[in-house]
Subunit: 459 residues, 2 copies
């Protein structure tokens, strides 16, 4: 490696350089994301209708399409300082191994105990709940990163935290559960007999191992039926993308420090929390016509909402008690194949990102999981970080783009989001190491079957 | 928290500020650590006798009691940049929760995939093996941090890596094993039938679940019998403490930047790799009479080599094929109680640290594991990092010292080593969460029984 690199391996901001406000992408969108609808009336939801579910301040943020910058409260900035700034890493070793003229950077969000970027929004949501004088919050978790992040934030603030964990994960990921318990959260396998919707689902499907949509239904029910509780969600929502903009803002400040302008920005996409956060300030420039970037969303071929879904109103949950959101969706009854490892298994996609994709501001591509794990292993051995399966979707496409540069000789600057670490995904790594991992691409018929069940709404 | 903290939550050095040489504590010791002895002749081992086991350059470092600073090769410094500098964290939240006037700092070495400081020496040892033109290295691992670190270093350099993993860990920590496999290492449960000593032990104790000392014997045998291989060890040795001095050097540079002088320095101690590294430059000042610090080694009450061991020559392994080292030891046949969680289970202690302790340059204390996990949980909820059980020994004593300051009003500055994360220790956390964790303190008779088997050597 060159002795005289001007750009360090890791760019850290000083605490003074850290963002003091979140950036709201919607403020620069000419076509705003479609509003959430009341599933009963088909009308846009008002703040009054949302406050029984979400904290007041978060409802404001959810509905605010206009304010560009929203100040990050000092208490949240103090908490951020425990695990932020996250490093923007120049992947010198990866570049060398790929023999590419491309310059590769990744924003690494895995250096905290939740193991992912989820903590950025968890502390914000917990903070507003605390400020409102609530007793606690409820949520669901699948792979477990969001539940862990929320339990950490609640432990810090002294809030009660009830997590509905998809049953199959609860049983297969006992360590994730223990981390949450160590942070004082109560963790319930979903579906459970603690809720009406859970009992209904259990009666209808006795052997079910649960789904994210079902766990959401249970968590919402508990929040709305227990005084002093609200529901919080780790992705999809506008407020979450707002909080996650801290990822992109830090990335942009770090790049600007060294006068670097990315050509391609790549993020994995499940509900959109990481991608929406990473691209926020860059998309802002693009929306305002100040700069152009290629922005690529990467999703699993087994759950391809952007690339094979329908842009329509749909429920966010299986129990159909949540608001309707207009998004690219595979239908709320779609469940990814059992062989799918890790997260990125939500049937829909953030309304904001869906609108931006629909309007041509970003691309999307899907990748199969064996090629994802191949990239993950290569990255681990080269850059020394064991990546989460979710993050490895972005790694796969970043490597492919860098290889194209090796062919063409183009010195493109590629930035991707390394959302987290894979310490709790070793069952999947073991499958890959043993050559037992397989791919599954849903058929057109399967997708059509769940899309056929979309609610009938004008929008 | 105060708005105008002058000292940031995390002090990061720039790459230019990172140490360019390791510091060799022995150079400032008036009484040098006793030399390694040939168990056959009882005579000090020569470089010639050591080179069939260790790499040539590492033998030099092992025997060098005089050179104060040894340059870190550029290739190792490049690798260090992937995960170093590690942050020196001001534990503002912990101070606030403890209502203590003490100022608490911790050097956090867990932000890399091996989950601990072990990578500092792993890359150095692998680098010298590669430079010598070797095919590969062998080692043992217990809790798995060292094996993971070595497999990462070998993957980076393209070296073969054979890890003998204590059978009970191999079976109970399948995820650790998978991380090593993901990095391309071959992992063998020890005792195994792949070595003479393994077969002998299996014949003698058919149901044994192995021990660190036994795995060392197997790894050494394989290294010495296979051309192109050498044995590497993650603790105890002088060379390891040398490489780990990067921890203390970074800590000192960070503290000096802000004009901070610690009063108390605390580290957990198993074989001594972390403690010896953390205290190195501070001990240097103490040895040279330039400054004074209270230095505290913390060990588990279930494996108390400093506090209840004997200062004598002993074998480093169970198979008694390794050199003899003079150290505080419980006897090489001592095996910590089965209820002991995590590492810090080696029967002996670094010769260098043993000599320093013997000469009164440092203190030692032992703590029981339930109080260790209580501190671990408190720390996790307060500072947001799930600590390794090993590291939590230092946390326990740091908290206790900070509490004393709260009583006396003294504004002491406490620095402790947070060696790693607990993501692979959740079986132990679960026990603690379920109230099923117990303590065990070996009886005087137990210790006397294994000490009685010490080899008879003048020294």
């Amino acid at each position: 490696m060159a002795e005289e690199q001007k750009i360090p391996y890791k760019i850290y901001l000083t605490e003074d350089e850290m963002p003091k406000a979140w950036y709201n992408m919607r403020s620069d969108m000419k076509v705003k994301p479609a509003p959430l609808l009341n599933p009963g009336t088909g009308q846009p939801l008002t703040a009054e209708e949302l406050t029984p579910i979400f904290c007041e301040e978060l409802v404001k943020q959810e509905l605010d399409d206009d304010t560009a910058f929203i100040e990050i409260p000092q208490e949240i900035r103090d908490f951020y300082k425990m695990f932020r700034p996250s490093p923007l890493v120049r992947a010198y070793c990866l570049e060398e191994k790929l023999k590419t003229p491309a310059k590769i950077y990744y924003k690494f969000e895995g250096n905290n105990t939740s193991g992912s970027h989820k903590l950025n929004s968890a502390i914000a949501q917990a903070y507003y709940a605390k400020k409102q004088g609530l007793k606690g919050v409820t949520t669901e978790t699948g792979a477990g990163q969001w539940g862990t992040a929320l339990s950490m934030a609640c432990a810090y603030l002294g809030l009660d935290c009830k997590v509905y964990m998809v049953k199959v994960s609860y049983e297969q990921k006992p360590f994730r559960r223990e981390v949450m318990r160590t942070y004082g959260a109560s963790v319930v396998p979903s579906p459970s007999d603690t809720t009406e919707i859970g009992r209904k689902i259990l009666a209808e499907f006795p052997g079910t191992t649960g789904s994210l949509g079902c766990a959401i239904s249970e968590a919402v029910e508990v929040a709305t039926k227990n005084p002093g509780y609200r529901y919080v969600l780790g992705s999809v929502l506008n407020q979450v993308l707002l909080h996650q903009s801290v990822i992109g803002l830090e990335t942009k400040i770090a790049l600007d420090k060294y006068g670097i302008k990315p050509d391609i920005i790549i993020g994995c996409a499940g509900g959109g929390s990481n991608l929406g956060g990473l691209i926020a300030p860059f998309m802002g420039e693009k929306l305002r016509g100040e700069a152009d970037y290629r922005i690529i969303a990467v999703e699993p071929a087994s759950c391809p909402s952007f690339t094979r879904g329908t842009f329509a109103y749909d429920f966010c949950d299986t129990g159909m008690i949540c608001p309707l959101a207009k998004m690219y969706t595979l239908g709320s009854s779609f469940i990814p194949s059992a062989n799918h490892a890790g997260g990125l298994r939500f049937h829909g996609m953030s309304s904001t990102l869906s609108q931006l994709y629909h309007d041509g501001y970003m691309e999307a591509t899907s990748v199969e999981q064996t090629e994802v794990f191949e990239a993950a292993e290569f990255f681990a051995r080269t850059e020394g970080i064991l990546p989460a399966p979710e993050s490895s979707h972005a790694i796969r496409v970043a490597i492919d783009e860098a290889k194209k540069c090796a062919e063409t000789g183009e010195e493109k600057t590629i930035v991707f989001g390394l959302t987290g670490t894979g310490y709790f995904d070793l069952v999947a790594y073991q499958k890959y190491n043993d050559g037992e991992m397989s791919d599954y691409i849903p058929t057109d018929e399967e997708i059509a079957a769940s899309v056929a069940k979309l609610p009938k709404v004008e929008g």
